[in-house]
Protein backbone atom coordinates (compact mmCIF):
# COMPACT_ATOMS: atom_id res chain seq x y z
CA UNK A 1 0.00 0.00 0.00
CA UNK A 2 1.65 3.18 -1.03
CA UNK A 3 0.49 6.63 -1.78
CA UNK A 4 1.92 8.46 -4.72
CA UNK A 5 2.78 12.03 -4.10
CA UNK A 6 0.78 14.36 -6.29
CA UNK A 7 2.11 15.76 -9.46
CA UNK A 8 5.48 16.98 -10.41
CA UNK A 9 5.41 20.43 -12.00
CA UNK A 10 3.38 20.43 -15.12
CA UNK A 11 3.47 22.92 -17.89
CA UNK A 12 0.14 24.64 -18.21
CA UNK A 13 -1.76 23.39 -21.23
CA UNK A 14 -1.83 25.75 -24.16
CA UNK A 15 -4.97 27.78 -23.87
CA UNK A 16 -7.04 26.58 -26.77
CA UNK A 17 -9.52 29.35 -27.01
CA UNK A 18 -10.73 31.99 -29.42
CA UNK A 19 -7.32 32.39 -30.97
CA UNK A 20 -7.07 28.77 -32.00
CA UNK A 21 -10.59 28.77 -33.30
CA UNK A 22 -9.92 31.84 -35.36
CA UNK A 23 -6.76 30.24 -36.64
CA UNK A 24 -8.73 27.17 -37.64
CA UNK A 25 -11.32 29.31 -39.40
CA UNK A 26 -8.50 31.17 -41.11
CA UNK A 27 -6.86 28.02 -42.38
CA UNK A 28 -10.23 26.83 -43.64
CA UNK A 29 -10.60 30.02 -45.62
CA UNK A 30 -7.14 29.44 -47.06
CA UNK A 31 -8.09 25.89 -48.00
CA UNK A 32 -11.27 27.11 -49.63
CA UNK A 33 -9.26 29.64 -51.59
CA UNK A 34 -6.84 26.93 -52.67
CA UNK A 35 -9.75 24.80 -53.89
CA UNK A 36 -11.20 27.75 -55.76
CA UNK A 37 -7.83 28.55 -57.31
CA UNK A 38 -7.46 25.00 -58.58
CA UNK A 39 -10.89 25.21 -60.18
CA UNK A 40 -10.03 28.54 -61.75
CA UNK A 41 -6.77 27.14 -63.06
CA UNK A 42 -8.62 24.28 -64.74
CA UNK A 43 -11.01 26.77 -66.28
CA UNK A 44 -8.09 28.87 -67.51
CA UNK A 45 -6.13 25.99 -68.95
CA UNK A 46 -8.93 23.97 -70.58
CA UNK A 47 -9.67 26.52 -73.32
CA UNK A 48 -6.03 27.46 -73.67
CA UNK A 49 -4.89 23.96 -74.53
CA UNK A 50 -7.84 23.53 -76.82
CA UNK A 51 -9.84 21.13 -74.69
CA UNK A 52 -12.81 23.33 -75.47
CA UNK A 53 -13.08 26.13 -77.97
CA UNK A 54 -12.18 29.42 -76.37
CA UNK A 55 -15.09 31.10 -78.08
CA UNK A 56 -17.49 28.72 -76.38
CA UNK A 57 -15.76 28.75 -73.02
CA UNK A 58 -13.40 31.69 -72.80
CA UNK A 59 -10.52 31.34 -70.36
CA UNK A 60 -11.22 32.72 -66.93
CA UNK A 61 -8.76 35.57 -67.39
CA UNK A 62 -10.85 36.88 -70.28
CA UNK A 63 -14.00 36.47 -68.26
CA UNK A 64 -12.49 38.30 -65.32
CA UNK A 65 -11.41 41.15 -67.58
CA UNK A 66 -14.97 41.49 -68.82
CA UNK A 67 -16.21 41.24 -65.27
CA UNK A 68 -13.98 44.10 -64.18
CA UNK A 69 -15.24 46.14 -67.10
CA UNK A 70 -18.84 45.43 -66.15
CA UNK A 71 -18.19 46.17 -62.52
CA UNK A 72 -17.44 49.71 -63.62
CA UNK A 73 -20.97 50.16 -64.93
CA UNK A 74 -23.88 51.04 -62.73
CA UNK A 75 -26.19 48.74 -64.73
CA UNK A 76 -24.25 45.77 -63.39
CA UNK A 77 -24.71 46.78 -59.80
CA UNK A 78 -28.35 47.67 -60.34
CA UNK A 79 -28.94 44.23 -61.78
CA UNK A 80 -27.22 42.61 -58.82
CA UNK A 81 -29.29 44.73 -56.50
CA UNK A 82 -32.54 43.70 -58.18
CA UNK A 83 -31.65 40.03 -58.11
CA UNK A 84 -30.39 40.06 -54.55
CA UNK A 85 -33.48 41.90 -53.38
CA UNK A 86 -35.91 39.46 -55.00
CA UNK A 87 -33.80 36.57 -53.84
CA UNK A 88 -33.39 37.50 -50.21
CA UNK A 89 -36.97 38.64 -49.84
CA UNK A 90 -38.18 35.43 -51.45
CA UNK A 91 -35.90 33.34 -49.29
CA UNK A 92 -37.09 35.09 -46.17
CA UNK A 93 -40.73 34.53 -47.01
CA UNK A 94 -40.11 30.92 -48.01
CA UNK A 95 -38.16 30.23 -44.83
CA UNK A 96 -40.79 31.75 -42.60
CA UNK A 97 -43.60 29.94 -44.38
CA UNK A 98 -41.79 26.62 -44.40
CA UNK A 99 -40.95 26.82 -40.72
CA UNK A 100 -44.42 27.86 -39.64
CA UNK A 101 -46.18 25.35 -41.85
CA UNK A 102 -43.64 22.61 -41.24
CA UNK A 103 -43.91 22.91 -37.49
CA UNK A 104 -47.65 23.21 -37.38
CA UNK A 105 -48.13 20.30 -39.72
CA UNK A 106 -45.63 18.16 -37.92
CA UNK A 107 -47.28 18.89 -34.61
CA UNK A 108 -50.87 18.67 -35.78
CA UNK A 109 -51.12 15.19 -37.27
CA UNK A 110 -54.72 15.77 -38.23
CA UNK A 111 -53.89 18.74 -40.39
CA UNK A 112 -51.05 16.79 -41.83
CA UNK A 113 -53.29 13.89 -42.77
CA UNK A 114 -55.60 16.23 -44.61
CA UNK A 115 -52.90 18.03 -46.54
CA UNK A 116 -50.56 15.17 -47.46
CA UNK A 117 -52.15 14.37 -50.78
CA UNK A 118 -52.21 17.99 -51.90
CA UNK A 119 -48.68 18.59 -50.72
CA UNK A 120 -47.35 15.53 -52.50
CA UNK A 121 -49.15 16.64 -55.62
CA UNK A 122 -47.92 20.22 -55.57
CA UNK A 123 -44.35 19.44 -54.61
CA UNK A 124 -43.08 18.04 -57.89
CA UNK A 125 -44.81 20.63 -60.03
CA UNK A 126 -41.85 22.43 -61.49
CA UNK A 127 -41.73 26.07 -60.61
CA UNK A 128 -40.77 26.84 -64.18
CA UNK A 129 -44.04 25.35 -65.34
CA UNK A 130 -45.78 27.95 -63.19
CA UNK A 131 -44.21 30.85 -65.04
CA UNK A 132 -47.34 31.49 -67.13
CA UNK A 133 -49.45 31.49 -63.99
CA UNK A 134 -47.07 33.93 -62.33
CA UNK A 135 -47.17 36.19 -65.33
CA UNK A 136 -50.96 36.24 -65.32
CA UNK A 137 -51.10 37.09 -61.66
CA UNK A 138 -48.14 39.41 -61.31
CA UNK A 139 -46.94 40.29 -64.79
CA UNK A 140 -43.23 40.40 -65.34
CA UNK A 141 -42.25 42.42 -62.31
CA UNK A 142 -40.93 41.57 -58.89
CA UNK A 143 -44.17 39.81 -57.98
CA UNK A 144 -43.64 37.03 -60.49
CA UNK A 145 -40.07 36.50 -59.44
CA UNK A 146 -41.08 36.41 -55.80
CA UNK A 147 -43.93 34.00 -56.37
CA UNK A 148 -41.69 31.51 -58.12
CA UNK A 149 -38.74 32.00 -55.81
CA UNK A 150 -40.92 31.44 -52.78
CA UNK A 151 -42.61 28.46 -54.34
CA UNK A 152 -39.36 26.73 -55.21
CA UNK A 153 -37.40 27.53 -52.07
CA UNK A 154 -40.33 26.71 -49.84
CA UNK A 155 -40.32 23.00 -50.65
CA UNK A 156 -36.63 22.68 -50.01
CA UNK A 157 -36.88 24.11 -46.54
CA UNK A 158 -40.22 22.55 -45.78
CA UNK A 159 -39.04 18.99 -46.36
CA UNK A 160 -36.04 19.63 -44.15
CA UNK A 161 -38.23 21.06 -41.42
CA UNK A 162 -40.46 18.02 -41.46
CA UNK A 163 -37.49 15.68 -41.24
CA UNK A 164 -35.95 17.76 -38.48
CA UNK A 165 -39.11 17.83 -36.43
CA UNK A 166 -39.31 14.06 -36.72
CA UNK A 167 -35.75 13.67 -35.50
CA UNK A 168 -36.18 14.91 -31.96
CA UNK A 169 -34.54 12.66 -29.36
CA UNK A 170 -37.41 10.77 -27.73
CA UNK A 171 -35.88 11.03 -24.27
CA UNK A 172 -35.55 14.79 -24.58
CA UNK A 173 -39.14 14.92 -25.75
CA UNK A 174 -40.31 12.83 -22.78
CA UNK A 175 -38.36 15.02 -20.42
CA UNK A 176 -40.19 18.05 -21.69
CA UNK A 177 -43.51 16.29 -21.43
CA UNK A 178 -42.81 15.13 -17.90
CA UNK A 179 -42.26 18.73 -16.86
CA UNK A 180 -45.52 19.58 -18.59
CA UNK A 181 -43.95 22.04 -20.95
CA UNK A 182 -46.73 23.68 -22.84
CA UNK A 183 -47.03 22.77 -26.49
CA UNK A 184 -45.43 26.03 -27.39
CA UNK A 185 -42.58 25.56 -24.91
CA UNK A 186 -41.93 22.11 -26.32
CA UNK A 187 -41.67 23.54 -29.78
CA UNK A 188 -39.54 26.42 -28.66
CA UNK A 189 -37.19 24.55 -26.35
CA UNK A 190 -37.02 21.00 -27.67
CA UNK A 191 -38.30 20.61 -31.18
CA UNK A 192 -36.81 23.78 -32.54
CA UNK A 193 -33.22 23.25 -31.38
CA UNK A 194 -33.34 19.60 -32.45
CA UNK A 195 -34.63 20.51 -35.86
CA UNK A 196 -32.27 23.44 -36.27
CA UNK A 197 -29.49 21.50 -38.02
CA UNK A 198 -32.02 20.31 -40.55
CA UNK A 199 -33.51 23.75 -40.94
CA UNK A 200 -30.13 25.28 -41.59
CA UNK A 201 -29.37 22.69 -44.24
CA UNK A 202 -32.77 23.55 -45.67
CA UNK A 203 -31.93 27.23 -45.72
CA UNK A 204 -28.70 26.50 -47.52
CA UNK A 205 -30.51 24.39 -50.06
CA UNK A 206 -33.31 26.90 -50.34
CA UNK A 207 -30.91 29.80 -50.77
CA UNK A 208 -29.35 28.17 -53.79
CA UNK A 209 -32.68 27.22 -55.30
CA UNK A 210 -34.07 30.68 -54.65
CA UNK A 211 -31.12 32.24 -56.40
CA UNK A 212 -31.48 29.82 -59.28
CA UNK A 213 -35.16 30.63 -59.60
CA UNK A 214 -34.64 34.36 -59.32
CA UNK A 215 -32.13 34.27 -62.13
CA UNK A 216 -34.14 31.79 -64.20
CA UNK A 217 -37.32 33.81 -63.96
CA UNK A 218 -35.49 36.93 -64.92
CA UNK A 219 -33.96 35.00 -67.74
CA UNK A 220 -37.20 33.57 -69.02
CA UNK A 221 -39.67 36.38 -68.54
CA UNK A 222 -37.21 39.22 -68.53
CA UNK A 223 -37.93 40.62 -65.09
CA UNK A 224 -35.11 43.03 -64.34
CA UNK A 225 -31.98 41.61 -62.69
CA UNK A 226 -28.95 39.50 -63.40
CA UNK A 227 -31.02 36.94 -65.29
CA UNK A 228 -32.28 39.56 -67.71
CA UNK A 229 -28.71 40.73 -68.19
CA UNK A 230 -27.69 37.18 -68.95
CA UNK A 231 -30.54 36.87 -71.45
CA UNK A 232 -29.42 40.00 -73.22
CA UNK A 233 -25.81 38.92 -73.14
CA UNK A 234 -26.72 35.53 -74.52
CA UNK A 235 -28.45 36.96 -77.53
CA UNK A 236 -25.35 39.07 -78.07
CA UNK A 237 -22.09 37.69 -79.29
CA UNK A 238 -19.75 37.99 -76.35
CA UNK A 239 -19.68 34.67 -74.49
CA UNK A 240 -17.23 36.03 -71.92
CA UNK A 241 -19.92 38.43 -70.73
CA UNK A 242 -22.37 35.60 -70.16
CA UNK A 243 -19.76 33.78 -68.12
CA UNK A 244 -18.91 36.94 -66.22
CA UNK A 245 -22.54 37.23 -65.17
CA UNK A 246 -22.76 33.54 -64.32
CA UNK A 247 -19.63 33.96 -62.24
CA UNK A 248 -21.33 36.80 -60.41
CA UNK A 249 -24.31 34.58 -59.68
CA UNK A 250 -22.09 31.84 -58.33
CA UNK A 251 -20.19 34.22 -56.12
CA UNK A 252 -23.48 35.40 -54.63
CA UNK A 253 -24.25 31.78 -53.82
CA UNK A 254 -20.90 31.33 -52.13
CA UNK A 255 -21.40 34.47 -50.06
CA UNK A 256 -24.73 33.24 -48.73
CA UNK A 257 -23.19 29.93 -47.82
CA UNK A 258 -20.46 31.68 -45.90
CA UNK A 259 -23.15 33.53 -43.99
CA UNK A 260 -25.23 30.46 -43.17
CA UNK A 261 -22.11 28.54 -42.16
CA UNK A 262 -21.11 31.28 -39.77
CA UNK A 263 -24.59 31.24 -38.29
CA UNK A 264 -24.38 27.48 -38.03
CA UNK A 265 -21.16 27.60 -36.09
CA UNK A 266 -22.80 29.93 -33.62
CA UNK A 267 -26.21 28.31 -33.40
CA UNK A 268 -25.07 24.70 -33.47
CA UNK A 269 -22.09 24.95 -31.17
CA UNK A 270 -23.68 22.22 -29.10
CA UNK A 271 -24.34 19.84 -31.98
CA UNK A 272 -22.19 16.77 -32.54
CA UNK A 273 -21.34 17.87 -36.06
CA UNK A 274 -19.90 21.17 -34.94
CA UNK A 275 -18.43 20.41 -31.57
CA UNK A 276 -16.41 17.56 -33.01
CA UNK A 277 -14.61 20.03 -35.22
CA UNK A 278 -13.99 22.65 -32.61
CA UNK A 279 -10.58 21.99 -31.06
CA UNK A 280 -10.53 20.49 -27.56
Amino acid sequence: MQTESPAAPVTAPAAVTGAARRERAGSNAVRGAVGALIALAVWEIAPRIGLVSSTDLPPVSTVLRVLVREAGTSAYWTAIGETVYAWLLGLLIATALAIVLGFSLALLPAVRAFTTSTVEFLRPIPSVALIPLAVIVYGTGLGSTLLLVVYAAFWQIYVQVLAGVADVDPVAEETARSFRFSRWARIRHVTWPSALPYVLTGVRLGAAVALILAVTVELVIGAPGLGAEIAVARSGTEPALVYALVLTTGVLGVLVNVGVRAGERRLLRWHASVRREVPV
Binding site: S53, T115, V254
Partner: protein, 259 residues
Amino acid sequence: MSLVLKPLRWFLLPVILIGVWWAASAGGQNFYLPTPDAVVRAFGPTWTPATLRADVLPSVVRLLAGFAIAGLVGVAAGTAIGLSPRLRAYSEPVLEFLRAVPPPVLIPVVMLFAGIDNTMKVTVIVFGCVWPVLLNTIEGVRAVDPVLDEVCRAYRISGLTRLRTLVLRGASPQIMTGLRQALAIAIILMVISEMFAASSGLGFTIVQFQRGYAIPEMWTGIILLGLLGILLAGLFGLAERVILRWYFGLRRAARDGGN
Protein backbone atom coordinates in the same frame (compact mmCIF):
# COMPACT_ATOMS: atom_id res chain seq x y z
CA MET B 1 -65.30 5.20 -39.13
CA SER B 2 -61.70 5.17 -40.31
CA LEU B 3 -62.91 3.55 -43.50
CA VAL B 4 -64.75 6.76 -44.20
CA LEU B 5 -62.18 9.10 -42.70
CA LYS B 6 -59.12 7.83 -44.50
CA PRO B 7 -60.24 8.59 -48.05
CA LEU B 8 -61.86 11.74 -46.78
CA ARG B 9 -58.51 12.93 -45.50
CA TRP B 10 -56.99 12.33 -48.86
CA PHE B 11 -59.65 13.96 -50.91
CA LEU B 12 -61.11 16.74 -48.82
CA LEU B 13 -58.51 19.39 -49.47
CA PRO B 14 -58.05 18.58 -53.17
CA VAL B 15 -61.81 18.76 -53.63
CA ILE B 16 -61.94 22.15 -51.95
CA LEU B 17 -59.06 23.41 -54.05
CA ILE B 18 -60.68 22.21 -57.24
CA GLY B 19 -63.82 23.98 -56.13
CA VAL B 20 -61.87 27.19 -55.68
CA TRP B 21 -60.30 26.69 -59.07
CA TRP B 22 -63.70 26.19 -60.60
CA ALA B 23 -65.06 29.31 -59.04
CA ALA B 24 -62.06 31.32 -60.17
CA SER B 25 -62.13 30.08 -63.71
CA ALA B 26 -65.88 30.03 -64.23
CA GLY B 27 -67.02 32.33 -66.98
CA GLY B 28 -63.78 31.72 -68.80
CA GLN B 29 -62.61 35.34 -68.81
CA ASN B 30 -59.10 34.24 -68.22
CA PHE B 31 -57.57 32.55 -71.18
CA TYR B 32 -54.72 31.10 -69.15
CA LEU B 33 -56.94 29.60 -66.49
CA PRO B 34 -59.31 27.12 -68.09
CA THR B 35 -62.07 25.51 -66.09
CA PRO B 36 -61.26 22.15 -64.52
CA ASP B 37 -63.68 20.35 -66.81
CA ALA B 38 -61.95 21.77 -69.88
CA VAL B 39 -58.70 20.40 -68.52
CA VAL B 40 -60.22 17.04 -67.75
CA ARG B 41 -61.72 16.87 -71.22
CA ALA B 42 -58.36 17.67 -72.75
CA PHE B 43 -56.66 14.94 -70.76
CA GLY B 44 -57.83 11.93 -72.72
CA PRO B 45 -56.98 13.10 -76.21
CA THR B 46 -53.67 14.62 -75.08
CA TRP B 47 -52.26 11.65 -73.23
CA THR B 48 -52.95 8.60 -75.29
CA PRO B 49 -50.92 5.43 -74.81
CA ALA B 50 -48.92 6.45 -77.85
CA THR B 51 -47.99 9.87 -76.52
CA LEU B 52 -47.32 8.41 -73.12
CA ARG B 53 -44.86 6.02 -74.66
CA ALA B 54 -43.29 8.59 -76.92
CA ASP B 55 -43.11 11.54 -74.55
CA VAL B 56 -43.51 10.42 -70.98
CA LEU B 57 -41.52 7.21 -70.98
CA PRO B 58 -38.24 8.69 -72.26
CA SER B 59 -38.61 11.52 -69.76
CA VAL B 60 -39.16 9.16 -66.88
CA VAL B 61 -36.22 7.02 -67.90
CA ARG B 62 -33.96 10.06 -68.04
CA LEU B 63 -35.36 11.24 -64.74
CA LEU B 64 -34.69 7.94 -63.01
CA ALA B 65 -31.24 7.65 -64.53
CA GLY B 66 -30.37 11.16 -63.42
CA PHE B 67 -31.80 10.61 -59.97
CA ALA B 68 -29.93 7.35 -59.53
CA ILE B 69 -26.62 8.83 -60.61
CA ALA B 70 -27.17 11.90 -58.46
CA GLY B 71 -27.96 9.65 -55.51
CA LEU B 72 -24.80 7.64 -55.95
CA VAL B 73 -22.58 10.63 -56.59
CA GLY B 74 -24.16 12.66 -53.81
CA VAL B 75 -23.85 9.94 -51.20
CA ALA B 76 -20.33 8.99 -52.23
CA ALA B 77 -19.00 12.53 -52.41
CA GLY B 78 -21.03 13.60 -49.39
CA THR B 79 -19.60 10.81 -47.29
CA ALA B 80 -16.06 11.64 -48.29
CA ILE B 81 -16.55 15.34 -47.66
CA GLY B 82 -18.50 14.79 -44.46
CA LEU B 83 -15.80 12.55 -43.04
CA SER B 84 -12.96 14.91 -43.80
CA PRO B 85 -13.17 18.46 -42.50
CA ARG B 86 -10.11 19.19 -44.58
CA LEU B 87 -11.67 18.03 -47.80
CA ARG B 88 -14.73 20.04 -46.95
CA ALA B 89 -12.67 23.16 -46.45
CA TYR B 90 -11.04 22.70 -49.84
CA SER B 91 -14.13 21.93 -51.81
CA GLU B 92 -16.88 23.94 -50.18
CA PRO B 93 -16.53 27.27 -52.01
CA VAL B 94 -16.31 25.58 -55.39
CA LEU B 95 -19.29 23.38 -54.65
CA GLU B 96 -21.30 26.31 -53.37
CA PHE B 97 -20.42 28.18 -56.50
CA LEU B 98 -21.55 25.39 -58.77
CA ARG B 99 -24.68 24.96 -56.71
CA ALA B 100 -25.65 28.58 -57.21
CA VAL B 101 -25.36 28.45 -60.98
CA PRO B 102 -28.84 28.25 -62.47
CA PRO B 103 -29.25 25.16 -64.66
CA PRO B 104 -30.74 27.13 -67.56
CA VAL B 105 -27.54 29.09 -67.99
CA LEU B 106 -25.54 26.00 -67.29
CA ILE B 107 -27.16 23.93 -70.00
CA PRO B 108 -25.22 25.59 -72.83
CA VAL B 109 -22.00 24.78 -71.01
CA VAL B 110 -23.08 21.20 -70.41
CA MET B 111 -23.92 20.97 -74.08
CA LEU B 112 -20.35 21.82 -74.93
CA PHE B 113 -19.21 18.69 -73.15
CA ALA B 114 -22.14 16.35 -73.23
CA GLY B 115 -23.80 17.11 -76.52
CA ILE B 116 -27.50 17.71 -76.89
CA ASP B 117 -28.86 14.24 -76.44
CA ASN B 118 -29.78 12.14 -73.45
CA THR B 119 -26.34 12.55 -71.93
CA MET B 120 -26.85 16.28 -71.68
CA LYS B 121 -30.28 15.95 -70.16
CA VAL B 122 -29.21 13.37 -67.65
CA THR B 123 -26.16 15.46 -66.81
CA VAL B 124 -28.35 18.47 -66.16
CA ILE B 125 -30.64 16.44 -63.91
CA VAL B 126 -27.67 15.05 -62.03
CA PHE B 127 -26.09 18.43 -61.71
CA GLY B 128 -29.21 19.97 -60.28
CA CYS B 129 -30.44 17.31 -57.91
CA VAL B 130 -27.16 16.11 -56.52
CA TRP B 131 -27.03 19.04 -54.09
CA PRO B 132 -29.68 18.08 -51.56
CA VAL B 133 -28.24 14.58 -51.43
CA LEU B 134 -24.73 15.91 -51.08
CA LEU B 135 -25.54 18.46 -48.42
CA ASN B 136 -27.71 16.16 -46.39
CA THR B 137 -25.16 13.38 -46.59
CA ILE B 138 -22.42 15.72 -45.44
CA GLU B 139 -24.50 16.93 -42.52
CA GLY B 140 -25.70 13.45 -41.68
CA VAL B 141 -22.20 12.05 -41.70
CA ARG B 142 -20.92 14.90 -39.60
CA ALA B 143 -23.64 14.32 -37.03
CA VAL B 144 -23.04 10.61 -36.50
CA ASP B 145 -23.26 9.85 -32.79
CA PRO B 146 -19.80 10.37 -31.27
CA VAL B 147 -20.26 7.46 -28.88
CA LEU B 148 -20.96 5.07 -31.73
CA ASP B 149 -17.97 6.45 -33.53
CA GLU B 150 -15.84 5.62 -30.52
CA VAL B 151 -17.30 2.13 -30.38
CA CYS B 152 -16.18 1.58 -33.94
CA ARG B 153 -12.75 2.90 -33.27
CA ALA B 154 -12.40 0.86 -30.11
CA TYR B 155 -13.31 -2.34 -31.92
CA ARG B 156 -11.23 -1.27 -34.87
CA ILE B 157 -14.22 -1.40 -37.14
CA SER B 158 -12.88 0.57 -40.03
CA GLY B 159 -12.96 0.94 -43.75
CA LEU B 160 -15.94 -0.39 -45.58
CA THR B 161 -17.62 -1.94 -42.58
CA ARG B 162 -17.46 1.28 -40.66
CA LEU B 163 -18.84 3.08 -43.68
CA ARG B 164 -21.66 0.61 -44.10
CA THR B 165 -22.62 -0.01 -40.53
CA LEU B 166 -21.90 3.29 -38.88
CA VAL B 167 -21.57 6.20 -41.24
CA LEU B 168 -24.16 5.42 -43.84
CA ARG B 169 -26.65 3.90 -41.43
CA GLY B 170 -26.27 6.72 -38.97
CA ALA B 171 -26.69 9.30 -41.68
CA SER B 172 -29.43 7.40 -43.46
CA PRO B 173 -32.39 9.37 -42.07
CA GLN B 174 -30.83 12.53 -43.37
CA ILE B 175 -29.68 10.96 -46.62
CA MET B 176 -33.23 9.83 -47.26
CA THR B 177 -34.41 13.38 -46.67
CA GLY B 178 -31.90 14.53 -49.25
CA LEU B 179 -33.02 11.92 -51.73
CA ARG B 180 -36.62 12.94 -51.21
CA GLN B 181 -35.73 16.50 -52.08
CA ALA B 182 -33.62 15.38 -55.01
CA LEU B 183 -36.53 13.47 -56.47
CA ALA B 184 -38.64 16.61 -56.61
CA ILE B 185 -35.81 18.61 -58.11
CA ALA B 186 -35.11 15.89 -60.65
CA ILE B 187 -38.62 16.32 -61.97
CA ILE B 188 -38.14 20.06 -62.24
CA LEU B 189 -34.88 19.59 -64.06
CA MET B 190 -36.32 17.00 -66.35
CA VAL B 191 -38.64 19.75 -67.54
CA ILE B 192 -35.91 22.38 -67.76
CA SER B 193 -33.53 20.11 -69.61
CA GLU B 194 -36.22 19.33 -72.12
CA MET B 195 -36.71 22.98 -72.82
CA PHE B 196 -33.39 22.88 -74.65
CA ALA B 197 -32.41 20.85 -77.63
CA ALA B 198 -35.25 18.42 -77.22
CA SER B 199 -37.69 16.97 -79.66
CA SER B 200 -39.70 14.83 -77.29
CA GLY B 201 -40.42 14.45 -73.63
CA LEU B 202 -42.96 15.52 -71.07
CA GLY B 203 -41.30 18.85 -70.32
CA PHE B 204 -40.85 19.51 -74.00
CA THR B 205 -44.50 18.79 -74.66
CA ILE B 206 -45.65 21.10 -71.89
CA VAL B 207 -43.52 23.91 -73.21
CA GLN B 208 -44.81 23.27 -76.70
CA PHE B 209 -48.37 23.50 -75.46
CA GLN B 210 -47.55 26.68 -73.63
CA ARG B 211 -45.99 28.26 -76.68
CA GLY B 212 -48.78 27.03 -78.90
CA TYR B 213 -51.37 28.53 -76.55
CA ALA B 214 -52.88 25.10 -76.00
CA ILE B 215 -53.60 26.08 -72.42
CA PRO B 216 -55.89 23.25 -71.25
CA GLU B 217 -53.40 20.80 -72.71
CA MET B 218 -50.58 22.60 -70.93
CA TRP B 219 -52.44 22.20 -67.65
CA THR B 220 -52.97 18.51 -68.30
CA GLY B 221 -49.21 18.25 -68.66
CA ILE B 222 -48.64 20.04 -65.37
CA ILE B 223 -51.16 17.80 -63.69
CA LEU B 224 -49.50 14.77 -65.19
CA LEU B 225 -46.25 15.98 -63.69
CA GLY B 226 -47.95 16.27 -60.35
CA LEU B 227 -49.34 12.75 -60.66
CA LEU B 228 -45.92 11.48 -61.64
CA GLY B 229 -44.59 13.22 -58.57
CA ILE B 230 -47.15 11.56 -56.31
CA LEU B 231 -46.39 8.19 -57.80
CA LEU B 232 -42.65 8.56 -57.36
CA ALA B 233 -43.03 9.99 -53.87
CA GLY B 234 -45.22 7.03 -52.98
CA LEU B 235 -42.68 4.54 -54.25
CA PHE B 236 -39.98 6.45 -52.46
CA GLY B 237 -41.98 6.30 -49.24
CA LEU B 238 -42.20 2.52 -49.55
CA ALA B 239 -38.47 2.23 -50.07
CA GLU B 240 -37.85 4.56 -47.16
CA ARG B 241 -40.04 2.50 -44.87
CA VAL B 242 -37.93 -0.55 -45.61
CA ILE B 243 -34.56 1.16 -45.36
CA LEU B 244 -35.35 3.14 -42.23
CA ARG B 245 -37.36 0.48 -40.47
CA TRP B 246 -35.20 0.70 -37.36
CA TYR B 247 -35.55 4.44 -37.31
CA PHE B 248 -39.32 4.52 -37.57
CA GLY B 249 -39.51 1.69 -35.07
CA LEU B 250 -37.34 3.59 -32.64
CA ARG B 251 -39.43 6.73 -32.97
CA ARG B 252 -42.65 4.81 -32.65
CA ALA B 253 -41.36 2.96 -29.59
CA ALA B 254 -40.66 6.30 -28.02
CA ARG B 255 -44.01 7.67 -28.99
CA ASP B 256 -45.85 4.58 -27.95
CA GLY B 257 -47.13 6.38 -24.90
CA GLY B 258 -47.45 9.71 -26.62
CA ASN B 259 -50.79 11.37 -26.78
